[in-house]
Protein backbone atom coordinates (compact mmCIF):
# COMPACT_ATOMS: atom_id res chain seq x y z
CA UNK A 1 0.00 0.00 0.00
CA UNK A 2 2.64 2.50 1.03
CA UNK A 3 4.89 2.78 -2.01
CA UNK A 4 4.79 5.93 -4.16
CA UNK A 5 2.62 4.25 -6.79
CA UNK A 6 -0.04 2.70 -4.54
CA UNK A 7 -0.98 -0.98 -4.62
CA UNK A 8 -1.29 -1.50 -8.40
CA UNK A 9 2.33 -2.41 -9.30
CA UNK A 10 2.64 -4.71 -6.27
CA UNK A 11 -0.55 -6.54 -7.22
CA UNK A 12 0.42 -6.92 -10.90
CA UNK A 13 3.83 -8.23 -9.92
CA UNK A 14 2.26 -10.69 -7.46
CA UNK A 15 -0.03 -12.10 -10.18
CA UNK A 16 2.88 -12.48 -12.61
CA UNK A 17 5.09 -14.23 -10.07
CA UNK A 18 2.26 -16.50 -8.86
CA UNK A 19 1.66 -17.63 -12.46
CA UNK A 20 5.28 -18.74 -12.75
CA UNK A 21 5.62 -20.38 -9.31
CA UNK A 22 2.86 -22.92 -8.62
CA UNK A 23 3.98 -23.61 -5.04
CA UNK A 24 3.93 -19.95 -4.03
CA UNK A 25 1.12 -18.18 -2.23
CA UNK A 26 0.92 -14.47 -1.51
CA UNK A 27 -1.09 -12.39 0.96
CA UNK A 28 -1.76 -8.80 -0.09
CA UNK A 29 -2.05 -6.63 3.01
CA UNK A 30 -3.91 -3.33 2.75
CA UNK A 31 -7.19 -1.63 1.89
CA UNK A 32 -9.48 -4.26 0.42
CA UNK A 33 -11.44 -1.69 -1.56
CA UNK A 34 -8.25 -0.63 -3.37
CA UNK A 35 -6.95 -4.15 -3.89
CA UNK A 36 -10.05 -6.14 -4.91
CA UNK A 37 -10.61 -4.40 -8.26
CA UNK A 38 -6.98 -5.07 -9.17
CA UNK A 39 -7.31 -8.83 -8.78
CA UNK A 40 -10.86 -9.34 -10.07
CA UNK A 41 -9.68 -10.39 -13.54
CA UNK A 42 -7.10 -12.90 -12.24
CA UNK A 43 -7.88 -16.48 -13.21
CA UNK A 44 -9.17 -18.93 -10.62
CA UNK A 45 -6.01 -20.98 -10.11
CA UNK A 46 -4.11 -17.83 -9.16
CA UNK A 47 -6.87 -16.48 -6.95
CA UNK A 48 -6.65 -19.66 -4.85
CA UNK A 49 -3.09 -18.77 -3.89
CA UNK A 50 -3.72 -15.03 -3.43
CA UNK A 51 -5.16 -13.87 -0.11
CA UNK A 52 -6.15 -10.35 0.87
CA UNK A 53 -5.83 -9.17 4.46
CA UNK A 54 -7.81 -5.99 4.93
CA UNK A 55 -5.98 -3.33 7.00
CA UNK A 56 -7.22 0.22 6.48
CA UNK A 57 -4.35 2.24 7.97
CA UNK A 58 -1.23 2.85 5.87
CA UNK A 59 2.21 4.18 6.91
CA UNK A 60 2.90 7.34 4.90
CA UNK A 61 6.22 8.16 3.25
CA UNK A 62 6.53 11.28 5.38
CA UNK A 63 5.48 9.67 8.68
CA UNK A 64 8.18 9.84 11.31
CA UNK A 65 9.42 6.27 11.94
CA UNK A 66 9.55 6.64 15.73
CA UNK A 67 5.94 7.88 15.80
CA UNK A 68 4.82 5.03 13.54
CA UNK A 69 6.32 2.64 16.05
CA UNK A 70 4.49 4.26 18.98
CA UNK A 71 1.12 5.15 17.50
CA UNK A 72 0.47 3.14 14.37
CA UNK A 73 0.47 -0.49 15.45
CA UNK A 74 -2.33 -1.40 13.05
CA UNK A 75 -0.96 -0.36 9.70
CA UNK A 76 -0.67 -2.58 6.62
CA UNK A 77 3.10 -2.59 7.15
CA UNK A 78 2.94 -3.88 10.71
CA UNK A 79 0.19 -6.39 9.81
CA UNK A 80 2.38 -7.81 7.03
CA UNK A 81 5.29 -8.17 9.44
CA UNK A 82 3.03 -9.86 11.99
CA UNK A 83 2.06 -12.41 9.33
CA UNK A 84 5.75 -13.21 8.92
CA UNK A 85 6.21 -13.49 12.66
CA UNK A 86 3.26 -15.93 12.73
CA UNK A 87 4.33 -18.21 9.91
CA UNK A 88 4.57 -16.50 6.53
CA UNK A 89 8.06 -16.88 5.04
CA UNK A 90 8.82 -13.32 3.95
CA UNK A 91 7.55 -9.75 3.67
CA UNK A 92 8.06 -7.36 0.73
CA UNK A 93 7.42 -3.62 1.09
CA UNK A 94 8.06 -0.43 -0.93
CA UNK A 95 7.06 1.76 2.01
CA UNK A 96 8.81 4.15 4.40
CA UNK A 97 12.28 2.66 5.01
CA UNK A 98 12.80 3.97 8.53
CA UNK A 99 9.38 2.71 9.64
CA UNK A 100 10.00 -0.69 8.04
CA UNK A 101 13.30 -0.96 9.91
CA UNK A 102 11.82 -0.04 13.31
CA UNK A 103 8.66 -2.13 12.90
CA UNK A 104 10.68 -5.15 11.69
CA UNK A 105 12.98 -4.88 14.65
CA UNK A 106 10.06 -4.60 17.04
CA UNK A 107 7.89 -7.36 15.52
CA UNK A 108 10.44 -9.85 14.15
CA UNK A 109 13.41 -9.13 16.48
CA UNK A 110 17.09 -9.09 15.65
CA UNK A 111 19.93 -11.26 16.87
CA UNK A 112 20.43 -10.25 20.54
CA UNK A 113 23.91 -8.83 19.85
CA UNK A 114 22.70 -6.71 16.92
CA UNK A 115 21.25 -3.26 17.69
CA UNK A 116 19.58 -2.50 14.36
CA UNK A 117 18.83 -4.40 11.19
CA UNK A 118 20.50 -2.93 8.11
CA UNK A 119 19.68 -2.88 4.42
CA UNK A 120 22.01 -4.95 2.28
CA UNK A 121 22.13 -5.48 -1.47
CA UNK A 122 24.39 -7.02 -4.05
CA UNK A 123 25.56 -4.34 -6.46
CA UNK A 124 25.57 -5.00 -10.20
CA UNK A 125 29.27 -5.48 -10.84
CA UNK A 126 30.54 -7.74 -13.58
CA UNK A 127 33.84 -7.98 -11.79
CA UNK A 128 33.02 -9.67 -8.52
CA UNK A 129 30.26 -10.42 -6.06
CA UNK A 130 29.99 -7.42 -3.80
CA UNK A 131 27.32 -6.51 -1.25
CA UNK A 132 26.88 -3.04 0.26
CA UNK A 133 25.43 -2.51 3.77
CA UNK A 134 23.73 -0.22 4.98
CA UNK A 135 21.68 1.37 2.21
CA UNK A 136 19.39 3.60 4.23
CA UNK A 137 17.90 1.88 7.26
CA UNK A 138 20.26 3.70 9.63
CA UNK A 139 21.09 7.29 8.77
CA UNK A 140 23.21 8.06 11.80
CA UNK A 141 25.71 5.38 12.77
CA UNK A 142 28.30 5.10 15.46
CA UNK A 143 31.42 2.97 14.99
CA UNK A 144 29.83 -0.03 16.75
CA UNK A 145 26.95 0.01 14.27
CA UNK A 146 29.36 -0.04 11.34
CA UNK A 147 31.18 -2.93 12.99
CA UNK A 148 27.88 -4.83 13.37
CA UNK A 149 27.08 -4.14 9.70
CA UNK A 150 30.39 -5.78 8.79
CA UNK A 151 29.50 -8.90 10.78
CA UNK A 152 26.00 -9.06 9.31
CA UNK A 153 27.33 -8.47 5.79
CA UNK A 154 29.88 -11.26 6.17
CA UNK A 155 27.26 -13.67 7.48
CA UNK A 156 24.90 -12.68 4.64
CA UNK A 157 27.48 -13.27 1.89
CA UNK A 158 28.34 -16.64 3.42
CA UNK A 159 24.65 -17.62 3.56
CA UNK A 160 23.64 -16.30 0.13
CA UNK A 161 26.75 -17.10 -1.89
CA UNK A 162 28.40 -19.90 0.07
CA UNK A 163 31.60 -17.87 0.13
CA UNK A 164 33.68 -18.45 3.25
CA UNK A 165 35.57 -15.63 4.96
CA UNK A 166 34.34 -12.87 2.64
CA UNK A 167 36.59 -9.85 2.26
CA UNK A 168 35.23 -6.74 4.02
CA UNK A 169 36.03 -3.06 3.38
CA UNK A 170 34.80 0.21 4.84
CA UNK A 171 33.63 2.97 2.48
CA UNK A 172 35.62 6.17 2.96
CA UNK A 173 36.81 9.33 1.21
CA UNK A 174 40.36 7.98 0.88
CA UNK A 175 42.33 4.81 1.41
CA UNK A 176 44.87 6.10 3.92
CA UNK A 177 44.09 5.40 7.57
CA UNK A 178 44.11 9.12 8.47
CA UNK A 179 41.22 9.77 6.08
CA UNK A 180 37.55 10.05 6.96
CA UNK A 181 35.49 11.09 9.95
CA UNK A 182 35.91 9.89 13.52
CA UNK A 183 33.33 7.09 13.47
CA UNK A 184 34.80 5.60 10.28
CA UNK A 185 38.35 5.64 11.62
CA UNK A 186 37.24 4.04 14.91
CA UNK A 187 35.15 1.40 13.11
CA UNK A 188 38.16 0.59 10.95
CA UNK A 189 40.26 -0.15 14.03
CA UNK A 190 37.48 -2.33 15.49
CA UNK A 191 37.21 -4.30 12.26
CA UNK A 192 40.97 -4.69 11.90
CA UNK A 193 41.19 -6.12 15.42
CA UNK A 194 38.24 -8.52 15.05
CA UNK A 195 39.15 -12.18 14.55
CA UNK A 196 35.65 -12.70 13.06
CA UNK A 197 36.27 -10.49 10.03
CA UNK A 198 38.49 -10.71 6.96
CA UNK A 199 38.99 -6.93 6.89
CA UNK A 200 40.94 -5.28 4.10
CA UNK A 201 40.74 -1.56 4.96
CA UNK A 202 39.12 1.45 3.33
CA UNK A 203 37.61 1.57 -0.14
CA UNK A 204 36.60 4.62 -2.20
CA UNK A 205 33.38 5.02 -4.17
CA UNK A 206 35.00 4.74 -7.59
CA UNK A 207 36.39 1.29 -6.73
CA UNK A 208 33.04 -0.29 -5.80
CA UNK A 209 32.54 -1.75 -9.26
CA UNK A 210 36.04 -3.11 -9.78
CA UNK A 211 36.99 -4.49 -6.39
CA UNK A 212 37.61 -8.00 -5.09
CA UNK A 213 35.95 -7.00 -1.81
CA UNK A 214 32.72 -8.89 -1.00
CA UNK A 215 31.21 -6.68 1.69
CA UNK A 216 31.36 -2.88 1.67
CA UNK A 217 30.23 -1.24 4.92
CA UNK A 218 28.88 2.29 5.27
CA UNK A 219 26.46 4.50 7.17
CA UNK A 220 22.96 4.23 5.68
CA UNK A 221 22.91 7.89 4.70
CA UNK A 222 26.13 7.55 2.70
CA UNK A 223 25.18 4.21 1.15
CA UNK A 224 21.74 5.39 0.10
CA UNK A 225 22.97 8.59 -1.52
CA UNK A 226 25.94 6.86 -3.20
CA UNK A 227 23.94 4.03 -4.76
CA UNK A 228 21.17 6.36 -5.89
CA UNK A 229 23.77 8.69 -7.44
CA UNK A 230 25.20 5.68 -9.26
CA UNK A 231 21.72 4.89 -10.58
CA UNK A 232 21.35 8.48 -11.72
CA UNK A 233 24.61 8.26 -13.67
CA UNK A 234 23.47 4.96 -15.19
CA UNK A 235 20.18 6.46 -16.37
CA UNK A 236 21.90 9.56 -17.77
CA UNK A 237 24.39 7.43 -19.70
CA UNK A 238 21.65 5.23 -21.10
CA UNK A 239 19.82 8.34 -22.26
CA UNK A 240 22.95 9.83 -23.87
CA UNK A 241 23.62 6.52 -25.56
CA UNK A 242 20.12 6.47 -27.06
CA UNK A 243 20.59 10.05 -28.25
CA UNK A 244 23.83 9.22 -30.07
CA UNK A 245 21.91 6.78 -32.24
CA UNK A 246 19.16 9.22 -33.10
CA UNK A 247 21.21 12.03 -34.62
CA UNK A 248 21.80 12.18 -38.40
CA UNK A 249 21.25 9.44 -40.99
CA UNK A 250 24.50 7.69 -40.02
CA UNK A 251 23.63 7.67 -36.31
CA UNK A 252 20.15 6.29 -37.01
CA UNK A 253 21.49 3.61 -39.37
CA UNK A 254 24.12 2.44 -36.88
CA UNK A 255 21.50 2.67 -34.15
CA UNK A 256 19.28 0.27 -36.07
CA UNK A 257 22.13 -2.19 -36.48
CA UNK A 258 23.26 -1.79 -32.87
CA UNK A 259 19.75 -2.07 -31.39
CA UNK A 260 19.98 -5.74 -30.26
CA UNK A 261 23.37 -5.14 -28.62
CA UNK A 262 22.24 -1.97 -26.89
CA UNK A 263 19.03 -3.58 -25.72
CA UNK A 264 21.07 -6.31 -24.02
CA UNK A 265 23.39 -3.76 -22.41
CA UNK A 266 20.59 -1.50 -21.18
CA UNK A 267 18.79 -4.50 -19.71
CA UNK A 268 21.92 -5.48 -17.76
CA UNK A 269 22.16 -1.96 -16.38
CA UNK A 270 18.49 -1.16 -15.78
CA UNK A 271 18.30 -0.17 -12.09
CA UNK A 272 14.73 -1.45 -11.79
CA UNK A 273 16.05 -4.96 -12.47
CA UNK A 274 18.36 -4.63 -9.49
CA UNK A 275 15.56 -3.76 -7.13
CA UNK A 276 14.94 -5.49 -3.82
CA UNK A 277 17.33 -5.03 -0.93
CA UNK A 278 17.19 -7.24 2.15
CA UNK A 279 16.93 -6.24 5.77
CA UNK A 280 19.68 -8.26 7.43
CA UNK A 281 19.97 -9.06 11.13
CA UNK A 282 16.29 -10.02 11.56
CA UNK A 283 15.06 -13.50 12.39
CA UNK A 284 12.98 -13.63 9.17
CA UNK A 285 13.10 -12.34 5.58
CA UNK A 286 12.05 -8.76 4.85
CA UNK A 287 12.79 -7.23 1.43
CA UNK A 288 12.55 -3.51 0.77
CA UNK A 289 11.99 -2.25 -2.74
CA UNK A 290 12.36 1.33 -3.95
CA UNK A 291 9.48 3.60 -2.98
CA UNK A 292 8.91 4.37 -6.66
CA UNK A 293 8.97 0.73 -7.81
CA UNK A 294 6.92 -0.30 -10.81
CA UNK A 295 5.85 -3.85 -11.67
CA UNK A 296 9.32 -5.11 -12.62
CA UNK A 297 10.77 -3.69 -9.40
CA UNK A 298 8.22 -5.59 -7.29
CA UNK A 299 8.83 -8.76 -9.29
CA UNK A 300 12.55 -8.59 -8.53
CA UNK A 301 11.86 -7.92 -4.86
CA UNK A 302 9.42 -10.85 -4.57
CA UNK A 303 11.94 -13.17 -6.25
CA UNK A 304 14.63 -11.94 -3.88
CA UNK A 305 12.36 -12.68 -0.90
CA UNK A 306 11.59 -16.18 -2.27
CA UNK A 307 15.29 -17.00 -2.66
CA UNK A 308 16.09 -15.87 0.86
CA UNK A 309 13.17 -17.72 2.40
CA UNK A 310 13.84 -20.88 0.40
CA UNK A 311 17.50 -20.94 1.42
CA UNK A 312 16.68 -19.96 5.01
CA UNK A 313 19.08 -17.06 4.75
CA UNK A 314 17.99 -15.21 7.94
CA UNK A 315 18.31 -18.45 9.95
CA UNK A 316 21.77 -19.08 8.53
CA UNK A 317 22.82 -15.49 9.18
CA UNK A 318 21.55 -15.79 12.75
CA UNK A 319 23.48 -19.01 13.34
CA UNK A 320 26.63 -17.50 11.83
CA UNK A 321 26.29 -14.39 14.01
CA UNK A 322 26.09 -16.74 17.02
CA UNK A 323 29.49 -18.12 16.00
CA UNK A 324 31.02 -14.73 15.19
CA UNK A 325 29.86 -12.87 18.28
Amino acid sequence: MSGDNGPAPAVSASLKILAGHPLLSITLVGREADITPLISSADGSLRERLMVLHVPDVVGMSDKPSQVLRNRANTSMSAALQLVRDGHDACVSAGNTGALMLLSRSILKTHPEIDRPAIIKRIPSSYNLCYVVDLGANVDCRAEHLYQFALMGSAMVEAMEGKTSPKVALLNVGEEETKGNEQVRLASRMMAESPSLNYSGFIEGDSLFKTDVNVVVCDGFVGNVALKTGEGVGRMMAELLRQQFKVGWYGRLVGLLAAPLLKRLLAILDPSRHNGASLVGLTRTVVKCHGNSQVIGFECAILQAMIEAEHQVPQKVYARLDELL
Copy 2:
Protein backbone atom coordinates in the same frame (compact mmCIF):
# COMPACT_ATOMS: atom_id res chain seq x y z
CA MET B 1 54.44 17.08 -5.84
CA SER B 2 51.92 15.42 -3.62
CA GLY B 3 49.51 13.71 -6.01
CA ASP B 4 49.58 9.93 -6.38
CA ASN B 5 51.57 10.10 -9.61
CA GLY B 6 54.29 12.51 -8.52
CA PRO B 7 55.18 15.69 -10.41
CA ALA B 8 55.32 14.33 -13.99
CA PRO B 9 51.64 14.73 -15.02
CA ALA B 10 51.42 18.21 -13.47
CA VAL B 11 54.54 19.30 -15.35
CA SER B 12 53.39 17.87 -18.71
CA ALA B 13 50.00 19.53 -18.30
CA SER B 14 51.65 22.86 -17.43
CA LEU B 15 53.78 22.75 -20.59
CA LYS B 16 50.76 21.95 -22.76
CA ILE B 17 48.63 24.72 -21.26
CA LEU B 18 51.48 27.26 -21.44
CA ALA B 19 51.88 26.51 -25.16
CA GLY B 20 48.24 27.37 -25.76
CA HIS B 21 48.04 30.47 -23.55
CA PRO B 22 50.80 33.01 -24.31
CA LEU B 23 49.84 35.35 -21.44
CA LEU B 24 50.01 32.63 -18.80
CA SER B 25 52.94 31.93 -16.50
CA ILE B 26 53.21 29.01 -14.09
CA THR B 27 55.38 28.38 -11.05
CA LEU B 28 56.07 24.72 -10.27
CA VAL B 29 56.55 24.32 -6.53
CA GLY B 30 58.44 21.27 -5.24
CA ARG B 31 61.70 19.34 -5.35
CA GLU B 32 63.89 20.91 -8.00
CA ALA B 33 65.80 17.68 -8.60
CA ASP B 34 62.54 15.92 -9.51
CA ILE B 35 61.16 18.77 -11.61
CA THR B 36 64.16 19.98 -13.63
CA PRO B 37 64.59 16.83 -15.74
CA LEU B 38 60.90 17.01 -16.67
CA ILE B 39 61.19 20.50 -18.15
CA SER B 40 64.64 20.27 -19.74
CA SER B 41 63.26 19.53 -23.20
CA ALA B 42 60.70 22.37 -23.17
CA ASP B 43 61.38 25.04 -25.77
CA GLY B 44 62.76 28.42 -24.76
CA SER B 45 59.60 30.51 -25.12
CA LEU B 46 57.81 28.23 -22.68
CA ARG B 47 60.71 28.08 -20.23
CA GLU B 48 60.55 31.89 -19.90
CA ARG B 49 57.03 31.58 -18.46
CA LEU B 50 57.76 28.54 -16.30
CA MET B 51 59.37 29.11 -12.91
CA VAL B 52 60.48 26.49 -10.39
CA LEU B 53 60.34 27.20 -6.66
CA HIS B 54 62.40 24.62 -4.81
CA VAL B 55 60.72 23.31 -1.63
CA PRO B 56 61.99 19.94 -0.45
CA ASP B 57 59.24 18.92 1.98
CA VAL B 58 56.02 17.40 0.60
CA VAL B 59 52.66 16.76 2.32
CA GLY B 60 51.94 13.03 2.13
CA MET B 61 48.54 11.55 1.25
CA SER B 62 48.38 9.85 4.63
CA ASP B 63 49.58 12.84 6.68
CA LYS B 64 47.02 14.00 9.20
CA PRO B 65 45.77 17.45 8.09
CA SER B 66 45.82 18.96 11.59
CA GLN B 67 49.44 17.87 12.07
CA VAL B 68 50.40 19.25 8.67
CA LEU B 69 49.00 22.58 9.78
CA ARG B 70 50.98 22.55 13.04
CA ASN B 71 54.30 21.04 12.00
CA ARG B 72 54.76 21.25 8.26
CA ALA B 73 54.75 24.93 7.46
CA ASN B 74 57.41 24.56 4.77
CA THR B 75 55.89 22.06 2.40
CA SER B 76 55.41 22.53 -1.33
CA MET B 77 51.67 22.84 -0.69
CA SER B 78 51.99 25.67 1.80
CA ALA B 79 54.64 27.41 -0.33
CA ALA B 80 52.30 27.35 -3.34
CA LEU B 81 49.49 28.84 -1.26
CA GLN B 82 51.85 31.53 0.05
CA LEU B 83 52.66 32.47 -3.56
CA VAL B 84 48.94 33.00 -4.12
CA ARG B 85 48.64 35.07 -0.96
CA ASP B 86 51.55 37.20 -2.22
CA GLY B 87 50.31 37.85 -5.74
CA HIS B 88 49.93 34.71 -7.87
CA ASP B 89 46.37 34.37 -9.16
CA ALA B 90 45.62 30.74 -8.37
CA CYS B 91 46.93 27.46 -6.96
CA VAL B 92 46.32 23.96 -8.35
CA SER B 93 47.03 20.84 -6.26
CA ALA B 94 46.36 17.10 -6.46
CA GLY B 95 47.55 16.59 -2.89
CA ASN B 96 45.96 15.67 0.44
CA THR B 97 42.49 17.29 0.43
CA GLY B 98 42.17 17.85 4.17
CA ALA B 99 45.61 19.44 4.36
CA LEU B 100 44.85 21.67 1.36
CA MET B 101 41.64 22.84 3.03
CA LEU B 102 43.30 23.65 6.37
CA LEU B 103 46.40 25.26 4.85
CA SER B 104 44.27 27.33 2.43
CA ARG B 105 42.13 28.55 5.28
CA SER B 106 45.17 29.42 7.35
CA ILE B 107 47.21 31.09 4.57
CA LEU B 108 44.56 32.63 2.30
CA LYS B 109 41.73 33.16 4.84
CA THR B 110 38.01 32.76 4.29
CA HIS B 111 35.20 35.28 4.46
CA PRO B 112 34.90 36.16 8.19
CA GLU B 113 31.42 34.62 8.44
CA ILE B 114 32.52 31.35 6.83
CA ASP B 115 34.06 28.67 9.09
CA ARG B 116 35.55 26.38 6.49
CA PRO B 117 36.13 26.51 2.76
CA ALA B 118 34.33 23.76 0.85
CA ILE B 119 34.97 21.92 -2.40
CA ILE B 120 32.52 22.71 -5.16
CA LYS B 121 32.21 21.36 -8.67
CA ARG B 122 29.80 21.49 -11.57
CA ILE B 123 28.55 18.00 -12.32
CA PRO B 124 28.34 16.76 -15.91
CA SER B 125 24.61 16.90 -16.51
CA SER B 126 23.18 17.53 -19.93
CA TYR B 127 19.96 18.67 -18.32
CA ASN B 128 20.90 21.72 -16.33
CA LEU B 129 23.78 23.55 -14.67
CA CYS B 130 24.22 22.02 -11.26
CA TYR B 131 27.02 22.43 -8.73
CA VAL B 132 27.60 20.12 -5.75
CA VAL B 133 29.21 21.34 -2.50
CA ASP B 134 31.01 19.89 -0.41
CA LEU B 135 32.95 17.16 -2.18
CA GLY B 136 35.36 16.15 0.55
CA ALA B 137 36.99 19.11 2.29
CA ASN B 138 34.76 18.69 5.38
CA VAL B 139 33.96 15.13 6.39
CA ASP B 140 32.00 15.96 9.53
CA CYS B 141 29.49 18.79 9.19
CA ARG B 142 27.05 20.39 11.55
CA ALA B 143 23.88 22.06 10.26
CA GLU B 144 25.52 25.51 10.27
CA HIS B 145 28.26 24.25 7.97
CA LEU B 146 25.71 22.90 5.51
CA TYR B 147 23.93 26.24 5.65
CA GLN B 148 27.20 28.05 4.89
CA PHE B 149 27.84 25.66 1.97
CA ALA B 150 24.45 26.69 0.56
CA LEU B 151 25.39 30.38 0.74
CA MET B 152 28.82 29.76 -0.80
CA GLY B 153 27.32 27.57 -3.52
CA SER B 154 24.75 30.22 -4.41
CA ALA B 155 27.40 32.92 -4.56
CA MET B 156 29.63 30.66 -6.68
CA VAL B 157 26.90 29.89 -9.24
CA GLU B 158 26.07 33.58 -9.49
CA ALA B 159 29.75 34.47 -10.02
CA MET B 160 30.60 31.63 -12.43
CA GLU B 161 27.40 31.40 -14.44
CA GLY B 162 25.79 34.81 -13.99
CA LYS B 163 22.64 33.09 -12.78
CA THR B 164 20.72 35.13 -10.22
CA SER B 165 18.95 33.52 -7.29
CA PRO B 166 20.10 29.97 -8.06
CA LYS B 167 17.89 27.17 -6.81
CA VAL B 168 19.38 25.29 -3.84
CA ALA B 169 18.60 21.77 -2.57
CA LEU B 170 19.95 19.59 0.22
CA LEU B 171 21.06 16.03 -0.56
CA ASN B 172 19.13 13.49 1.50
CA VAL B 173 17.90 9.89 1.55
CA GLY B 174 14.33 10.95 0.81
CA GLU B 175 12.34 14.02 -0.17
CA GLU B 176 9.95 14.14 2.77
CA GLU B 177 10.91 16.49 5.59
CA THR B 178 10.97 13.69 8.17
CA LYS B 179 13.75 11.92 6.25
CA GLY B 180 17.47 12.07 6.99
CA ASN B 181 19.68 12.56 9.98
CA GLU B 182 19.43 15.33 12.54
CA GLN B 183 21.97 17.73 11.02
CA VAL B 184 20.33 17.52 7.58
CA ARG B 185 16.84 18.17 8.95
CA LEU B 186 18.08 21.14 11.00
CA ALA B 187 20.04 22.55 8.04
CA SER B 188 16.91 22.26 5.92
CA ARG B 189 14.95 24.40 8.36
CA MET B 190 17.77 26.99 8.44
CA MET B 191 17.85 27.15 4.65
CA ALA B 192 14.07 27.37 4.34
CA GLU B 193 14.00 30.33 6.74
CA SER B 194 16.89 32.20 5.11
CA PRO B 195 15.90 35.17 2.93
CA SER B 196 19.31 34.86 1.20
CA LEU B 197 18.57 31.47 -0.35
CA ASN B 198 16.21 30.20 -3.02
CA TYR B 199 15.77 26.87 -1.23
CA SER B 200 13.70 24.11 -2.77
CA GLY B 201 14.00 21.26 -0.23
CA PHE B 202 15.59 17.83 -0.28
CA ILE B 203 16.93 16.03 -3.32
CA GLU B 204 17.88 12.35 -3.71
CA GLY B 205 21.00 11.00 -5.39
CA ASP B 206 19.20 9.62 -8.43
CA SER B 207 17.80 13.07 -9.28
CA LEU B 208 21.17 14.86 -9.40
CA PHE B 209 21.47 14.46 -13.16
CA LYS B 210 17.93 15.43 -14.09
CA THR B 211 17.14 18.28 -11.74
CA ASP B 212 16.54 22.00 -12.28
CA VAL B 213 18.36 22.69 -9.00
CA ASN B 214 21.60 24.68 -9.39
CA VAL B 215 23.28 24.05 -6.04
CA VAL B 216 23.20 20.72 -4.22
CA VAL B 217 24.51 20.84 -0.65
CA CYS B 218 25.92 17.90 1.30
CA ASP B 219 28.46 16.87 3.92
CA GLY B 220 31.88 16.35 2.31
CA PHE B 221 31.93 12.67 3.23
CA VAL B 222 28.62 12.04 1.47
CA GLY B 223 29.45 14.20 -1.54
CA ASN B 224 32.85 12.62 -2.06
CA VAL B 225 31.57 9.04 -1.86
CA ALA B 226 28.51 9.79 -4.03
CA LEU B 227 30.39 11.50 -6.85
CA LYS B 228 33.13 8.86 -6.86
CA THR B 229 30.49 6.11 -6.95
CA GLY B 230 28.93 7.88 -9.93
CA GLU B 231 32.33 7.89 -11.64
CA GLY B 232 32.68 4.19 -10.91
CA VAL B 233 29.32 3.48 -12.55
CA GLY B 234 30.35 5.61 -15.54
CA ARG B 235 33.59 3.68 -16.00
CA MET B 236 31.84 0.32 -15.62
CA MET B 237 29.21 1.26 -18.21
CA ALA B 238 31.85 2.47 -20.66
CA GLU B 239 33.66 -0.84 -20.25
CA LEU B 240 30.47 -2.89 -20.75
CA LEU B 241 29.66 -0.82 -23.82
CA ARG B 242 33.08 -1.55 -25.32
CA GLN B 243 32.61 -5.26 -24.56
CA GLN B 244 29.25 -5.39 -26.39
CA PHE B 245 31.05 -4.37 -29.56
CA LYS B 246 33.78 -6.95 -29.26
CA VAL B 247 31.71 -10.13 -29.09
CA GLY B 248 30.93 -12.10 -32.26
CA TRP B 249 31.31 -10.99 -35.89
CA TYR B 250 28.10 -8.93 -35.75
CA GLY B 251 29.13 -7.11 -32.59
CA ARG B 252 32.56 -6.31 -34.03
CA LEU B 253 31.08 -5.10 -37.32
CA VAL B 254 28.57 -2.81 -35.63
CA GLY B 255 31.32 -1.71 -33.23
CA LEU B 256 33.42 -0.60 -36.19
CA LEU B 257 30.52 1.40 -37.62
CA ALA B 258 29.57 2.85 -34.23
CA ALA B 259 33.14 3.76 -33.26
CA PRO B 260 32.90 7.50 -34.06
CA LEU B 261 29.61 7.85 -32.17
CA LEU B 262 30.87 5.92 -29.16
CA LYS B 263 34.12 7.85 -29.10
CA ARG B 264 32.14 11.09 -28.86
CA LEU B 265 29.93 9.69 -26.09
CA LEU B 266 32.80 8.29 -24.05
CA ALA B 267 34.65 11.61 -24.33
CA ILE B 268 31.62 13.47 -22.95
CA LEU B 269 31.50 11.09 -20.02
CA ASP B 270 35.21 10.62 -19.29
CA PRO B 271 35.59 11.54 -15.61
CA SER B 272 39.14 12.79 -16.15
CA ARG B 273 37.72 15.55 -18.35
CA HIS B 274 35.58 16.71 -15.47
CA ASN B 275 38.51 17.07 -13.13
CA GLY B 276 39.27 20.16 -11.08
CA ALA B 277 37.03 21.19 -8.22
CA SER B 278 37.28 24.61 -6.60
CA LEU B 279 37.74 25.49 -2.97
CA VAL B 280 35.04 28.09 -2.35
CA GLY B 281 34.92 30.57 0.51
CA LEU B 282 38.59 31.58 0.25
CA THR B 283 39.81 35.02 -0.79
CA ARG B 284 41.72 33.56 -3.76
CA THR B 285 41.43 30.70 -6.26
CA VAL B 286 42.51 27.20 -5.23
CA VAL B 287 41.64 24.22 -7.44
CA LYS B 288 41.91 20.64 -6.24
CA CYS B 289 42.31 17.83 -8.73
CA HIS B 290 41.94 14.12 -8.04
CA GLY B 291 44.89 12.56 -6.24
CA ASN B 292 45.30 10.12 -9.10
CA SER B 293 45.13 12.74 -11.86
CA GLN B 294 47.01 12.19 -15.09
CA VAL B 295 47.98 14.87 -17.62
CA ILE B 296 44.44 15.53 -18.87
CA GLY B 297 43.17 15.88 -15.30
CA PHE B 298 45.78 18.52 -14.49
CA GLU B 299 45.03 20.34 -17.75
CA CYS B 300 41.35 20.60 -16.82
CA ALA B 301 42.23 21.78 -13.33
CA ILE B 302 44.64 24.47 -14.61
CA LEU B 303 42.01 25.71 -17.07
CA GLN B 304 39.45 25.81 -14.26
CA ALA B 305 41.87 27.87 -12.14
CA MET B 306 42.50 30.26 -15.05
CA ILE B 307 38.77 30.83 -15.61
CA GLU B 308 38.16 31.55 -11.94
CA ALA B 309 41.13 33.89 -11.64
CA GLU B 310 40.30 35.71 -14.89
CA HIS B 311 36.70 36.28 -13.83
CA GLN B 312 37.72 37.15 -10.27
CA VAL B 313 35.38 34.51 -8.97
CA PRO B 314 36.65 34.42 -5.35
CA GLN B 315 36.39 38.21 -5.13
CA LYS B 316 32.83 38.13 -6.50
CA VAL B 317 31.88 35.30 -4.15
CA TYR B 318 33.33 37.27 -1.24
CA ALA B 319 31.37 40.38 -2.18
CA ARG B 320 28.18 38.38 -2.61
CA LEU B 321 28.68 36.70 0.79
CA ASP B 322 28.98 40.19 2.27
CA GLU B 323 25.52 40.95 0.88
CA LEU B 324 24.01 37.61 1.86
CA LEU B 325 25.33 37.44 5.40
